[in-house]
Protein backbone atom coordinates (compact mmCIF):
# COMPACT_ATOMS: atom_id res chain seq x y z
CA UNK A 1 0.00 0.00 0.00
CA UNK A 2 1.16 3.47 -0.85
CA UNK A 3 0.42 4.93 2.54
CA UNK A 4 2.53 2.45 4.49
CA UNK A 5 5.43 3.12 2.16
CA UNK A 6 4.97 6.84 2.74
CA UNK A 7 4.94 6.39 6.51
CA UNK A 8 8.15 4.40 6.36
CA UNK A 9 9.80 7.09 4.32
CA UNK A 10 8.63 10.23 6.10
CA UNK A 11 7.43 9.13 9.51
CA UNK A 12 3.85 8.94 10.75
CA UNK A 13 3.57 12.50 12.05
CA UNK A 14 4.84 14.05 8.85
CA UNK A 15 2.35 12.10 6.78
CA UNK A 16 -0.55 13.05 9.05
CA UNK A 17 0.47 16.68 8.95
CA UNK A 18 0.74 16.74 5.19
CA UNK A 19 -2.45 14.81 4.52
CA UNK A 20 -4.83 16.28 7.08
CA UNK A 21 -3.34 19.59 8.29
CA UNK A 22 -1.83 21.11 5.16
CA UNK A 23 -3.79 24.38 5.52
CA UNK A 24 -5.93 26.10 8.12
CA UNK A 25 -9.24 25.10 6.48
CA UNK A 26 -8.03 21.54 6.06
CA UNK A 27 -7.02 21.41 9.71
CA UNK A 28 -10.44 22.66 10.87
CA UNK A 29 -12.21 20.18 8.61
CA UNK A 30 -10.06 17.32 9.91
CA UNK A 31 -10.63 18.21 13.55
CA UNK A 32 -14.39 18.60 13.14
CA UNK A 33 -14.72 15.33 11.23
CA UNK A 34 -12.61 13.49 13.74
CA UNK A 35 -14.63 14.86 16.65
CA UNK A 36 -17.88 13.85 14.96
CA UNK A 37 -16.62 10.33 14.27
CA UNK A 38 -15.38 9.96 17.84
CA UNK A 39 -18.72 11.18 19.19
CA UNK A 40 -20.74 8.73 17.06
CA UNK A 41 -18.44 5.86 17.89
CA UNK A 42 -18.60 6.63 21.62
CA UNK A 43 -22.40 6.95 21.64
CA UNK A 44 -22.88 3.62 19.88
CA UNK A 45 -20.24 1.92 22.03
CA UNK A 46 -21.82 3.24 25.21
CA UNK A 47 -25.32 2.21 24.10
CA UNK A 48 -24.38 -1.23 22.80
CA UNK A 49 -21.79 -2.28 25.38
CA UNK A 50 -21.14 -0.05 28.41
CA UNK A 51 -24.68 0.81 29.52
CA UNK A 52 -26.30 -2.26 28.02
CA UNK A 53 -28.11 -4.96 29.92
CA UNK A 54 -27.05 -8.36 28.64
CA UNK A 55 -28.73 -10.80 30.96
CA UNK A 56 -32.37 -11.65 31.17
CA UNK A 57 -31.97 -12.20 34.94
CA UNK A 58 -33.45 -8.80 35.89
CA UNK A 59 -36.32 -9.07 33.43
CA UNK A 60 -37.60 -6.11 31.38
CA UNK A 61 -37.50 -3.87 34.47
CA UNK A 62 -33.69 -3.93 34.61
CA UNK A 63 -33.61 -2.58 31.06
CA UNK A 64 -35.89 0.33 31.81
CA UNK A 65 -33.49 1.65 34.44
CA UNK A 66 -30.69 2.24 31.96
CA UNK A 67 -30.22 4.26 28.76
CA UNK A 68 -28.24 1.44 27.12
CA UNK A 69 -29.27 -1.36 24.86
CA UNK A 70 -31.53 -4.04 26.23
CA UNK A 71 -29.86 -7.21 24.95
CA UNK A 72 -31.84 -9.02 27.61
CA UNK A 73 -34.64 -9.31 25.09
CA UNK A 74 -32.35 -11.41 22.87
CA UNK A 75 -31.28 -13.48 25.86
CA UNK A 76 -34.90 -14.09 26.65
CA UNK A 77 -36.33 -14.53 23.18
CA UNK A 78 -33.51 -15.79 20.97
CA UNK A 79 -35.16 -19.14 20.50
CA UNK A 80 -38.30 -17.51 19.16
CA UNK A 81 -36.25 -15.36 16.77
CA UNK A 82 -34.11 -18.20 15.47
CA UNK A 83 -36.67 -21.00 15.40
CA UNK A 84 -40.08 -19.30 15.09
CA UNK A 85 -43.01 -21.52 16.00
CA UNK A 86 -40.98 -24.72 15.80
CA UNK A 87 -41.77 -26.93 18.85
CA UNK A 88 -39.52 -26.02 21.77
CA UNK A 89 -38.06 -29.46 22.52
CA UNK A 90 -37.19 -29.94 18.82
CA UNK A 91 -35.24 -26.71 18.37
CA UNK A 92 -31.98 -28.61 18.02
CA UNK A 93 -33.35 -30.11 14.81
CA UNK A 94 -34.08 -26.73 13.31
CA UNK A 95 -30.65 -25.45 14.35
CA UNK A 96 -28.89 -28.47 12.92
CA UNK A 97 -30.92 -28.25 9.69
CA UNK A 98 -29.90 -24.62 9.34
CA UNK A 99 -26.25 -25.54 9.79
CA UNK A 100 -26.65 -28.30 7.19
CA UNK A 101 -28.01 -25.88 4.59
CA UNK A 102 -25.32 -23.30 5.31
CA UNK A 103 -22.65 -26.02 5.14
CA UNK A 104 -24.10 -27.29 1.88
CA UNK A 105 -23.96 -23.79 0.42
CA UNK A 106 -20.41 -23.20 1.62
CA UNK A 107 -19.25 -26.57 0.22
CA UNK A 108 -20.80 -25.92 -3.16
CA UNK A 109 -19.00 -22.57 -3.26
CA UNK A 110 -15.59 -24.25 -3.10
CA UNK A 111 -14.09 -24.84 -6.56
CA UNK A 112 -12.84 -28.27 -5.53
CA UNK A 113 -16.41 -29.58 -5.50
CA UNK A 114 -17.39 -28.13 -8.88
CA UNK A 115 -18.07 -31.35 -10.68
CA UNK A 116 -21.49 -32.64 -11.60
CA UNK A 117 -21.14 -35.65 -9.31
CA UNK A 118 -19.84 -33.85 -6.22
CA UNK A 119 -22.37 -31.04 -6.51
CA UNK A 120 -25.33 -33.38 -6.91
CA UNK A 121 -24.24 -35.46 -3.92
CA UNK A 122 -23.84 -32.33 -1.80
CA UNK A 123 -27.17 -30.84 -2.81
CA UNK A 124 -29.31 -33.96 -2.75
CA UNK A 125 -27.71 -35.04 0.53
CA UNK A 126 -28.04 -31.56 2.00
CA UNK A 127 -31.67 -31.08 1.05
CA UNK A 128 -32.67 -34.57 2.13
CA UNK A 129 -31.01 -34.08 5.52
CA UNK A 130 -32.66 -30.69 5.92
CA UNK A 131 -36.05 -32.03 4.98
CA UNK A 132 -35.98 -35.07 7.27
CA UNK A 133 -34.56 -33.06 10.18
CA UNK A 134 -37.20 -30.37 9.85
CA UNK A 135 -40.15 -32.54 8.98
CA UNK A 136 -39.33 -35.51 11.20
CA UNK A 137 -41.67 -38.48 11.35
CA UNK A 138 -38.75 -40.90 11.16
CA UNK A 139 -36.08 -42.10 13.59
CA UNK A 140 -38.41 -41.26 16.47
CA UNK A 141 -38.44 -37.59 15.61
CA UNK A 142 -41.97 -36.19 15.98
CA UNK A 143 -43.59 -34.88 12.84
CA UNK A 144 -43.40 -31.08 12.42
CA UNK A 145 -45.60 -29.59 9.75
CA UNK A 146 -44.19 -27.01 7.31
CA UNK A 147 -46.59 -24.45 8.80
CA UNK A 148 -44.61 -24.60 12.03
CA UNK A 149 -41.20 -24.17 10.42
CA UNK A 150 -39.77 -20.78 11.06
CA UNK A 151 -37.01 -18.41 11.97
CA UNK A 152 -33.52 -18.47 10.55
CA UNK A 153 -33.63 -21.99 9.16
CA UNK A 154 -36.76 -21.14 7.17
CA UNK A 155 -35.15 -17.97 5.80
CA UNK A 156 -32.02 -19.83 4.78
CA UNK A 157 -34.01 -22.71 3.32
CA UNK A 158 -36.22 -20.44 1.21
CA UNK A 159 -33.19 -18.53 -0.04
CA UNK A 160 -31.10 -21.55 -0.95
CA UNK A 161 -33.93 -23.43 -2.64
CA UNK A 162 -34.95 -20.32 -4.56
CA UNK A 163 -31.40 -20.01 -5.84
CA UNK A 164 -31.05 -23.72 -6.62
CA UNK A 165 -34.32 -23.91 -8.53
CA UNK A 166 -34.04 -20.43 -10.02
CA UNK A 167 -30.47 -20.65 -11.30
CA UNK A 168 -30.89 -23.57 -13.74
CA UNK A 169 -34.26 -22.12 -14.75
CA UNK A 170 -32.62 -18.77 -15.53
CA UNK A 171 -30.00 -20.48 -17.70
CA UNK A 172 -32.74 -22.29 -19.60
CA UNK A 173 -34.63 -19.01 -20.06
CA UNK A 174 -31.50 -17.23 -21.25
CA UNK A 175 -30.70 -19.98 -23.77
CA UNK A 176 -34.26 -20.18 -25.07
CA UNK A 177 -34.28 -16.42 -25.42
CA UNK A 178 -31.37 -16.55 -27.86
CA UNK A 179 -32.90 -19.44 -29.81
CA UNK A 180 -32.79 -19.12 -33.58
CA UNK A 181 -36.45 -20.09 -33.80
CA UNK A 182 -38.27 -16.77 -33.50
CA UNK A 183 -41.40 -18.11 -31.81
CA UNK A 184 -39.36 -19.74 -29.04
CA UNK A 185 -37.24 -16.67 -28.35
CA UNK A 186 -40.27 -14.36 -28.45
CA UNK A 187 -42.35 -16.59 -26.19
CA UNK A 188 -39.51 -16.79 -23.66
CA UNK A 189 -39.05 -13.04 -23.85
CA UNK A 190 -42.76 -12.62 -23.19
CA UNK A 191 -42.63 -14.89 -20.13
CA UNK A 192 -39.57 -13.11 -18.71
CA UNK A 193 -41.05 -9.68 -19.28
CA UNK A 194 -44.40 -10.67 -17.78
CA UNK A 195 -42.83 -12.04 -14.62
CA UNK A 196 -40.65 -8.97 -14.32
CA UNK A 197 -43.61 -6.65 -14.70
CA UNK A 198 -45.36 -8.15 -11.68
CA UNK A 199 -44.48 -7.31 -8.09
CA UNK A 200 -42.93 -10.24 -6.21
CA UNK A 201 -45.73 -10.06 -3.65
CA UNK A 202 -48.39 -10.72 -6.28
CA UNK A 203 -46.44 -13.69 -7.59
CA UNK A 204 -45.97 -15.17 -4.12
CA UNK A 205 -49.62 -14.61 -3.36
CA UNK A 206 -50.69 -16.23 -6.62
CA UNK A 207 -48.54 -19.28 -6.06
CA UNK A 208 -49.59 -19.67 -2.41
CA UNK A 209 -53.29 -18.91 -2.59
CA UNK A 210 -54.56 -19.03 -6.18
CA UNK A 211 -52.63 -21.99 -7.54
CA UNK A 212 -54.37 -24.64 -5.37
CA UNK A 213 -57.68 -23.72 -7.02
CA UNK A 214 -56.20 -24.35 -10.45
CA UNK A 215 -54.07 -27.42 -9.80
CA UNK A 216 -55.36 -30.81 -8.68
CA UNK A 217 -54.64 -31.64 -5.05
CA UNK A 218 -51.82 -34.08 -5.73
CA UNK A 219 -49.95 -31.53 -7.82
CA UNK A 220 -50.16 -28.50 -5.56
CA UNK A 221 -47.96 -29.63 -2.68
CA UNK A 222 -47.43 -27.66 0.51
CA UNK A 223 -47.77 -23.89 0.44
CA UNK A 224 -44.09 -23.54 1.34
CA UNK A 225 -42.91 -25.27 -1.84
CA UNK A 226 -45.31 -23.31 -4.00
CA UNK A 227 -43.95 -20.10 -2.52
CA UNK A 228 -40.39 -21.23 -3.21
CA UNK A 229 -41.39 -22.05 -6.78
CA UNK A 230 -42.89 -18.59 -7.18
CA UNK A 231 -39.87 -16.83 -5.85
CA UNK A 232 -37.59 -19.05 -7.97
CA UNK A 233 -39.55 -18.04 -11.06
CA UNK A 234 -39.15 -14.38 -10.12
CA UNK A 235 -35.44 -14.86 -9.50
CA UNK A 236 -35.05 -16.69 -12.82
CA UNK A 237 -36.71 -13.93 -14.82
CA UNK A 238 -34.22 -11.37 -13.57
CA UNK A 239 -31.21 -13.67 -13.58
CA UNK A 240 -31.97 -14.79 -17.15
CA UNK A 241 -31.54 -11.21 -18.36
CA UNK A 242 -28.30 -10.93 -16.40
CA UNK A 243 -26.97 -14.10 -18.02
CA UNK A 244 -28.15 -12.97 -21.44
CA UNK A 245 -26.17 -9.78 -20.97
CA UNK A 246 -23.14 -11.89 -20.05
CA UNK A 247 -23.61 -14.04 -23.15
CA UNK A 248 -23.74 -10.99 -25.38
CA UNK A 249 -20.37 -9.95 -23.99
CA UNK A 250 -18.77 -13.18 -25.26
CA UNK A 251 -17.28 -12.56 -28.73
CA UNK A 252 -19.00 -14.40 -31.57
CA UNK A 253 -15.68 -15.98 -32.53
CA UNK A 254 -15.71 -18.09 -29.38
CA UNK A 255 -18.72 -20.10 -30.47
CA UNK A 256 -17.44 -20.24 -34.04
CA UNK A 257 -14.12 -21.66 -32.89
CA UNK A 258 -15.94 -24.30 -30.86
CA UNK A 259 -18.19 -25.14 -33.81
CA UNK A 260 -15.22 -25.40 -36.14
CA UNK A 261 -13.65 -27.91 -33.75
CA UNK A 262 -16.78 -30.04 -34.01
CA UNK A 263 -17.90 -29.39 -30.43
CA UNK A 264 -21.65 -29.86 -30.17
CA UNK A 265 -24.26 -27.43 -28.84
CA UNK A 266 -24.48 -28.73 -25.27
CA UNK A 267 -20.73 -28.77 -24.72
CA UNK A 268 -20.33 -25.41 -26.45
CA UNK A 269 -22.78 -23.89 -24.01
CA UNK A 270 -21.34 -25.59 -20.92
CA UNK A 271 -17.64 -25.31 -21.62
CA UNK A 272 -17.26 -22.19 -23.75
CA UNK A 273 -20.24 -19.86 -23.54
CA UNK A 274 -21.51 -20.07 -19.95
CA UNK A 275 -18.15 -19.88 -18.13
CA UNK A 276 -17.32 -16.69 -20.01
CA UNK A 277 -20.83 -15.29 -19.73
CA UNK A 278 -20.87 -15.84 -15.97
CA UNK A 279 -17.59 -14.09 -15.61
CA UNK A 280 -18.88 -10.81 -16.95
CA UNK A 281 -22.28 -11.35 -15.32
CA UNK A 282 -20.81 -12.10 -11.91
CA UNK A 283 -21.18 -8.71 -10.19
CA UNK A 284 -24.82 -8.44 -11.27
CA UNK A 285 -25.42 -12.08 -10.27
CA UNK A 286 -24.11 -11.55 -6.74
CA UNK A 287 -26.30 -8.47 -6.58
CA UNK A 288 -29.31 -10.57 -7.54
CA UNK A 289 -28.48 -13.14 -4.85
CA UNK A 290 -28.25 -10.40 -2.23
CA UNK A 291 -31.60 -8.95 -3.26
CA UNK A 292 -33.16 -12.42 -3.21
CA UNK A 293 -31.84 -13.13 0.27
CA UNK A 294 -33.37 -9.97 1.62
CA UNK A 295 -36.62 -10.52 -0.23
CA UNK A 296 -37.22 -13.79 1.58
CA UNK A 297 -38.81 -11.64 4.28
CA UNK A 298 -41.78 -11.08 1.95
CA UNK A 299 -43.07 -14.58 2.72
CA UNK A 300 -44.51 -13.04 5.90
CA UNK A 301 -47.44 -12.01 3.76
CA UNK A 302 -48.30 -15.66 3.11
CA UNK A 303 -48.16 -16.37 6.80
CA UNK A 304 -44.71 -17.83 7.14
CA UNK A 305 -42.67 -17.16 10.21
CA UNK A 306 -39.23 -16.43 8.78
CA UNK A 307 -36.68 -14.55 10.82
CA UNK A 308 -38.12 -11.06 10.45
CA UNK A 309 -41.62 -12.23 11.36
CA UNK A 310 -40.41 -14.18 14.37
CA UNK A 311 -38.41 -11.09 15.38
CA UNK A 312 -41.61 -9.07 15.27
CA UNK A 313 -43.22 -11.64 17.49
CA UNK A 314 -40.26 -11.59 19.89
CA UNK A 315 -40.85 -8.01 20.99
CA UNK A 316 -44.47 -7.76 19.99
CA UNK A 317 -46.01 -9.50 22.96
CA UNK A 318 -46.30 -8.03 26.43
CA UNK A 319 -43.29 -7.03 28.42
CA UNK A 320 -40.62 -6.47 25.72
CA UNK A 321 -42.51 -4.07 23.44
CA UNK A 322 -40.02 -1.26 24.11
CA UNK A 323 -37.03 -3.33 22.93
CA UNK A 324 -37.72 -3.39 19.19
CA UNK A 325 -34.51 -1.56 18.28
CA UNK A 326 -32.42 -4.30 19.88
CA UNK A 327 -34.36 -7.06 18.17
CA UNK A 328 -34.05 -5.41 14.77
CA UNK A 329 -30.35 -4.73 15.37
CA UNK A 330 -29.85 -8.41 16.17
CA UNK A 331 -31.71 -9.49 13.01
CA UNK A 332 -29.85 -6.89 10.97
CA UNK A 333 -26.57 -8.38 12.19
CA UNK A 334 -27.67 -11.84 11.08
CA UNK A 335 -28.65 -10.50 7.64
CA UNK A 336 -25.36 -8.64 7.50
CA UNK A 337 -23.35 -11.77 8.27
CA UNK A 338 -25.01 -13.67 5.43
CA UNK A 339 -25.05 -10.93 2.82
CA UNK A 340 -21.55 -9.73 3.63
CA UNK A 341 -20.15 -13.26 3.26
CA UNK A 342 -21.97 -13.50 -0.04
CA UNK A 343 -20.39 -10.27 -1.29
CA UNK A 344 -16.93 -11.35 -0.15
CA UNK A 345 -17.41 -14.66 -1.92
CA UNK A 346 -18.34 -12.73 -5.07
CA UNK A 347 -15.17 -10.70 -4.77
CA UNK A 348 -13.15 -13.89 -4.34
CA UNK A 349 -14.73 -15.38 -7.47
CA UNK A 350 -13.93 -12.25 -9.46
CA UNK A 351 -10.29 -12.41 -8.42
CA UNK A 352 -10.16 -16.10 -9.22
CA UNK A 353 -11.66 -15.65 -12.67
CA UNK A 354 -9.33 -12.77 -13.42
CA UNK A 355 -6.41 -15.18 -13.53
CA UNK A 356 -7.23 -16.06 -17.12
CA UNK A 357 -7.40 -12.42 -18.08
CA UNK A 358 -4.09 -11.11 -19.42
Amino acid sequence: MAITAQIEREGLLAVIRRRYFSSLSNAILSIVSFALLAYIFWTVFDWAILSAVFSDAGGPEACQQTDGACWAVIDSRWRLILFGLYPHEEHWRSGLACIVVVLMTVLSCIPRFWSGKAISIIWIGGFATFYFLMKGGIFGMPLVDEQQWGGLSLTVFIFVSTALVGMPLSIVFALLRRSELPWISRLTGLIIDSVRSLPLLTILFTFAVVLPFVLPDWASGDKLYRVILGSALFFAAYQAEIIRGGMQAVPKGQEEAAKALGIRYGARIRRILLPQAFKSALPATINQFVITFKETSLVIIIGFFEILASGNAAYGRGEWTFAYVEVYTFIALIYFAFVFSLSRYGAYLERRMDIGDR
Binding site: G253, E256, K259, A260, R264, R271, G356, D357, R358
Partner: protein, 249 residues
Protein backbone atom coordinates in the same frame (compact mmCIF):
# COMPACT_ATOMS: atom_id res chain seq x y z
CA UNK B 1 -14.88 -41.87 -45.46
CA UNK B 2 -12.92 -40.94 -48.57
CA UNK B 3 -11.17 -42.96 -51.22
CA UNK B 4 -7.52 -42.18 -51.66
CA UNK B 5 -7.91 -40.47 -55.03
CA UNK B 6 -11.23 -38.74 -54.36
CA UNK B 7 -11.12 -34.91 -54.15
CA UNK B 8 -11.10 -33.46 -50.64
CA UNK B 9 -13.63 -30.75 -51.44
CA UNK B 10 -16.07 -30.40 -54.30
CA UNK B 11 -18.18 -27.26 -54.67
CA UNK B 12 -20.66 -27.07 -57.51
CA UNK B 13 -22.86 -24.12 -58.52
CA UNK B 14 -22.89 -22.74 -54.99
CA UNK B 15 -24.65 -19.48 -54.16
CA UNK B 16 -24.79 -17.63 -50.87
CA UNK B 17 -26.99 -14.68 -49.95
CA UNK B 18 -27.16 -12.40 -46.92
CA UNK B 19 -30.79 -11.33 -47.18
CA UNK B 20 -30.83 -9.59 -50.58
CA UNK B 21 -27.04 -9.34 -50.91
CA UNK B 22 -25.58 -11.94 -53.26
CA UNK B 23 -22.36 -12.82 -51.41
CA UNK B 24 -21.13 -15.77 -53.47
CA UNK B 25 -22.07 -16.36 -57.13
CA UNK B 26 -22.01 -19.74 -58.85
CA UNK B 27 -18.89 -21.00 -57.16
CA UNK B 28 -17.30 -24.12 -58.71
CA UNK B 29 -14.20 -25.39 -56.99
CA UNK B 30 -12.54 -28.76 -56.60
CA UNK B 31 -9.71 -29.26 -54.13
CA UNK B 32 -7.64 -32.42 -54.39
CA UNK B 33 -6.26 -34.15 -51.31
CA UNK B 34 -2.95 -32.66 -50.30
CA UNK B 35 -3.54 -29.60 -52.46
CA UNK B 36 -2.52 -26.19 -51.10
CA UNK B 37 -4.68 -23.31 -52.21
CA UNK B 38 -4.32 -19.62 -51.54
CA UNK B 39 -7.38 -17.43 -51.99
CA UNK B 40 -6.90 -13.70 -52.42
CA UNK B 41 -8.92 -10.73 -53.49
CA UNK B 42 -10.07 -7.30 -52.34
CA UNK B 43 -11.94 -6.99 -49.05
CA UNK B 44 -15.61 -7.87 -49.32
CA UNK B 45 -14.95 -10.18 -52.25
CA UNK B 46 -16.33 -13.24 -50.41
CA UNK B 47 -13.07 -15.14 -49.73
CA UNK B 48 -13.75 -15.62 -46.02
CA UNK B 49 -17.38 -16.43 -46.66
CA UNK B 50 -16.32 -19.11 -49.12
CA UNK B 51 -14.09 -21.00 -46.71
CA UNK B 52 -16.59 -20.52 -43.89
CA UNK B 53 -19.14 -22.34 -46.03
CA UNK B 54 -16.84 -25.35 -46.17
CA UNK B 55 -17.29 -26.08 -42.45
CA UNK B 56 -20.78 -24.65 -42.37
CA UNK B 57 -20.04 -21.61 -40.24
CA UNK B 58 -22.04 -20.03 -43.04
CA UNK B 59 -24.97 -21.68 -44.72
CA UNK B 60 -25.18 -21.70 -48.52
CA UNK B 61 -28.52 -21.31 -50.26
CA UNK B 62 -28.06 -23.31 -53.44
CA UNK B 63 -25.61 -25.68 -55.07
CA UNK B 64 -23.61 -28.53 -53.51
CA UNK B 65 -20.68 -28.67 -51.15
CA UNK B 66 -19.15 -32.11 -50.64
CA UNK B 67 -16.33 -32.32 -48.13
CA UNK B 68 -14.38 -35.59 -47.83
CA UNK B 69 -17.28 -37.42 -49.42
CA UNK B 70 -19.89 -35.94 -47.07
CA UNK B 71 -22.51 -33.62 -48.49
CA UNK B 72 -23.21 -30.50 -46.44
CA UNK B 73 -26.94 -30.10 -46.01
CA UNK B 74 -29.33 -29.66 -43.11
CA UNK B 75 -28.34 -33.04 -41.68
CA UNK B 76 -26.66 -32.23 -38.37
CA UNK B 77 -24.75 -35.50 -38.33
CA UNK B 78 -23.15 -34.58 -41.66
CA UNK B 79 -22.20 -31.13 -40.38
CA UNK B 80 -20.68 -32.62 -37.23
CA UNK B 81 -18.82 -35.20 -39.34
CA UNK B 82 -17.31 -32.53 -41.59
CA UNK B 83 -16.33 -30.27 -38.70
CA UNK B 84 -14.52 -33.18 -37.03
CA UNK B 85 -12.26 -33.54 -40.07
CA UNK B 86 -11.86 -29.89 -41.09
CA UNK B 87 -9.83 -27.58 -38.87
CA UNK B 88 -9.95 -23.81 -38.96
CA UNK B 89 -7.61 -21.00 -37.95
CA UNK B 90 -9.18 -17.57 -37.51
CA UNK B 91 -7.94 -14.04 -38.04
CA UNK B 92 -8.48 -13.19 -34.39
CA UNK B 93 -7.26 -16.57 -33.03
CA UNK B 94 -10.48 -17.12 -31.01
CA UNK B 95 -8.66 -19.05 -28.32
CA UNK B 96 -10.74 -19.82 -25.24
CA UNK B 97 -9.52 -17.23 -22.73
CA UNK B 98 -10.70 -19.12 -19.63
CA UNK B 99 -8.59 -22.19 -20.40
CA UNK B 100 -4.86 -22.76 -20.46
CA UNK B 101 -3.08 -23.32 -23.76
CA UNK B 102 -3.01 -27.05 -23.11
CA UNK B 103 -6.71 -27.17 -22.22
CA UNK B 104 -7.50 -25.20 -25.37
CA UNK B 105 -5.82 -27.91 -27.42
CA UNK B 106 -7.08 -30.94 -25.49
CA UNK B 107 -10.73 -29.89 -25.13
CA UNK B 108 -12.10 -30.85 -28.53
CA UNK B 109 -10.30 -34.22 -28.79
CA UNK B 110 -11.75 -35.12 -25.38
CA UNK B 111 -15.28 -33.93 -26.17
CA UNK B 112 -15.49 -34.89 -29.83
CA UNK B 113 -13.06 -37.77 -30.27
CA UNK B 114 -13.83 -39.07 -26.77
CA UNK B 115 -10.15 -39.45 -25.96
CA UNK B 116 -9.01 -39.74 -22.36
CA UNK B 117 -7.55 -36.58 -20.84
CA UNK B 118 -4.11 -38.20 -20.71
CA UNK B 119 -4.14 -39.11 -24.38
CA UNK B 120 -5.59 -35.77 -25.50
CA UNK B 121 -3.00 -33.81 -23.51
CA UNK B 122 -0.18 -35.96 -24.76
CA UNK B 123 -1.21 -35.37 -28.37
CA UNK B 124 -1.77 -31.68 -27.66
CA UNK B 125 1.77 -31.41 -26.30
CA UNK B 126 3.11 -32.96 -29.49
CA UNK B 127 1.38 -30.33 -31.58
CA UNK B 128 2.49 -27.55 -29.26
CA UNK B 129 6.03 -28.77 -29.81
CA UNK B 130 5.42 -28.73 -33.52
CA UNK B 131 4.44 -25.04 -33.38
CA UNK B 132 7.38 -24.53 -31.02
CA UNK B 133 5.70 -23.32 -27.86
CA UNK B 134 5.49 -26.37 -25.57
CA UNK B 135 6.86 -24.23 -22.73
CA UNK B 136 3.70 -22.06 -22.80
CA UNK B 137 1.32 -24.99 -22.23
CA UNK B 138 0.24 -23.96 -18.73
CA UNK B 139 -0.24 -20.28 -19.56
CA UNK B 140 -3.49 -18.59 -20.45
CA UNK B 141 -3.95 -17.16 -23.97
CA UNK B 142 -4.05 -13.60 -22.62
CA UNK B 143 -0.47 -14.00 -21.39
CA UNK B 144 0.89 -14.71 -24.88
CA UNK B 145 1.84 -12.48 -27.80
CA UNK B 146 -0.30 -12.42 -30.92
CA UNK B 147 2.08 -14.64 -32.86
CA UNK B 148 2.20 -17.15 -30.04
CA UNK B 149 -1.59 -17.14 -29.76
CA UNK B 150 -1.98 -17.82 -33.45
CA UNK B 151 0.48 -20.71 -33.22
CA UNK B 152 -1.55 -22.11 -30.32
CA UNK B 153 -4.66 -21.77 -32.49
CA UNK B 154 -2.92 -23.81 -35.18
CA UNK B 155 -1.93 -26.44 -32.61
CA UNK B 156 -5.52 -26.50 -31.35
CA UNK B 157 -6.80 -27.16 -34.86
CA UNK B 158 -4.13 -29.82 -35.44
CA UNK B 159 -4.99 -31.58 -32.18
CA UNK B 160 -8.18 -32.80 -33.81
CA UNK B 161 -5.98 -34.39 -36.49
CA UNK B 162 -7.96 -32.82 -39.33
CA UNK B 163 -7.66 -33.86 -42.96
CA UNK B 164 -8.24 -30.31 -44.21
CA UNK B 165 -7.14 -27.01 -42.68
CA UNK B 166 -8.84 -23.69 -43.41
CA UNK B 167 -6.96 -20.46 -42.68
CA UNK B 168 -9.00 -17.25 -42.56
CA UNK B 169 -6.49 -14.39 -42.84
CA UNK B 170 -4.27 -15.91 -40.15
CA UNK B 171 -1.68 -13.13 -40.18
CA UNK B 172 -3.87 -10.07 -40.72
CA UNK B 173 -4.28 -9.27 -37.03
CA UNK B 174 -0.60 -9.71 -36.19
CA UNK B 175 2.09 -7.12 -35.63
CA UNK B 176 4.53 -7.24 -38.59
CA UNK B 177 7.38 -8.80 -36.59
CA UNK B 178 5.20 -11.77 -35.65
CA UNK B 179 3.97 -12.69 -39.09
CA UNK B 180 6.94 -14.82 -40.05
CA UNK B 181 6.74 -17.14 -37.03
CA UNK B 182 3.17 -18.03 -38.02
CA UNK B 183 3.99 -18.34 -41.71
CA UNK B 184 6.91 -20.67 -40.88
CA UNK B 185 4.51 -23.05 -39.16
CA UNK B 186 2.13 -22.88 -42.11
CA UNK B 187 4.94 -23.57 -44.58
CA UNK B 188 6.05 -26.64 -42.64
CA UNK B 189 2.45 -27.93 -42.58
CA UNK B 190 2.18 -27.39 -46.32
CA UNK B 191 5.38 -29.33 -46.89
CA UNK B 192 4.00 -32.26 -44.91
CA UNK B 193 1.15 -32.59 -47.38
CA UNK B 194 -1.73 -31.13 -45.39
CA UNK B 195 -4.70 -30.10 -47.54
CA UNK B 196 -4.89 -26.35 -46.99
CA UNK B 197 -7.11 -23.47 -48.05
CA UNK B 198 -5.65 -20.14 -47.01
CA UNK B 199 -7.30 -16.78 -47.33
CA UNK B 200 -4.31 -14.47 -47.08
CA UNK B 201 -2.58 -11.44 -48.51
CA UNK B 202 0.85 -13.00 -47.96
CA UNK B 203 1.87 -13.36 -51.59
CA UNK B 204 5.32 -14.59 -50.63
CA UNK B 205 3.67 -17.52 -48.90
CA UNK B 206 1.51 -18.13 -51.99
CA UNK B 207 4.57 -18.19 -54.24
CA UNK B 208 6.44 -20.49 -51.90
CA UNK B 209 3.90 -23.23 -51.16
CA UNK B 210 0.65 -22.83 -53.11
CA UNK B 211 -0.29 -25.31 -55.80
CA UNK B 212 -2.96 -22.95 -56.98
CA UNK B 213 -3.84 -19.30 -56.35
CA UNK B 214 -7.46 -18.22 -56.63
CA UNK B 215 -8.50 -14.63 -57.16
CA UNK B 216 -11.99 -13.60 -56.07
CA UNK B 217 -13.89 -10.37 -56.60
CA UNK B 218 -17.51 -9.44 -55.83
CA UNK B 219 -18.43 -12.98 -54.83
CA UNK B 220 -17.02 -14.68 -57.90
CA UNK B 221 -13.93 -16.70 -58.68
CA UNK B 222 -12.31 -14.55 -61.36
CA UNK B 223 -9.13 -16.43 -62.08
CA UNK B 224 -7.16 -19.39 -60.77
CA UNK B 225 -3.75 -20.64 -61.74
CA UNK B 226 -0.45 -22.01 -60.52
CA UNK B 227 1.52 -19.30 -58.70
CA UNK B 228 4.13 -18.66 -61.42
CA UNK B 229 1.43 -18.14 -64.03
CA UNK B 230 -0.84 -16.28 -61.66
CA UNK B 231 1.75 -13.73 -60.63
CA UNK B 232 3.74 -13.70 -63.86
CA UNK B 233 0.92 -13.59 -66.37
CA UNK B 234 -2.44 -12.65 -64.88
CA UNK B 235 -5.20 -12.88 -67.49
CA UNK B 236 -8.06 -10.86 -66.11
CA UNK B 237 -8.01 -7.10 -65.88
CA UNK B 238 -9.26 -7.13 -62.28
CA UNK B 239 -6.54 -9.57 -61.26
CA UNK B 240 -3.92 -7.37 -62.81
CA UNK B 241 -5.27 -4.33 -61.00
CA UNK B 242 -5.38 -6.15 -57.66
CA UNK B 243 -1.87 -7.53 -58.05
CA UNK B 244 -0.45 -4.16 -59.02
CA UNK B 245 -2.10 -2.66 -55.93
CA UNK B 246 -0.72 -5.17 -53.42
CA UNK B 247 2.62 -5.85 -55.06
CA UNK B 248 3.21 -2.40 -56.49
CA UNK B 249 4.89 -0.91 -53.43
Amino acid sequence: MTQSNEPAIVIRGMNKYYEAFHALRDIDLTVEQGERIVICGPSGSGKSTLIRCINRLEEHQSGDIVVLGTSLDDNVANIDGVRREVGMVFQHFNLFPHMTVLENCALAPMLVRKWSRARAEEMAMQYLEKVQIPEQAEKFPGQLSGGQQQRVAIARALSMQPKVLLFDEPTSALDPEMISEVLDVMVSLAKEGMTMLCVTHEMGFARQVADRVIFMDRGEIIEQNAPEEFFGNPQNERTQKFLSQILGH
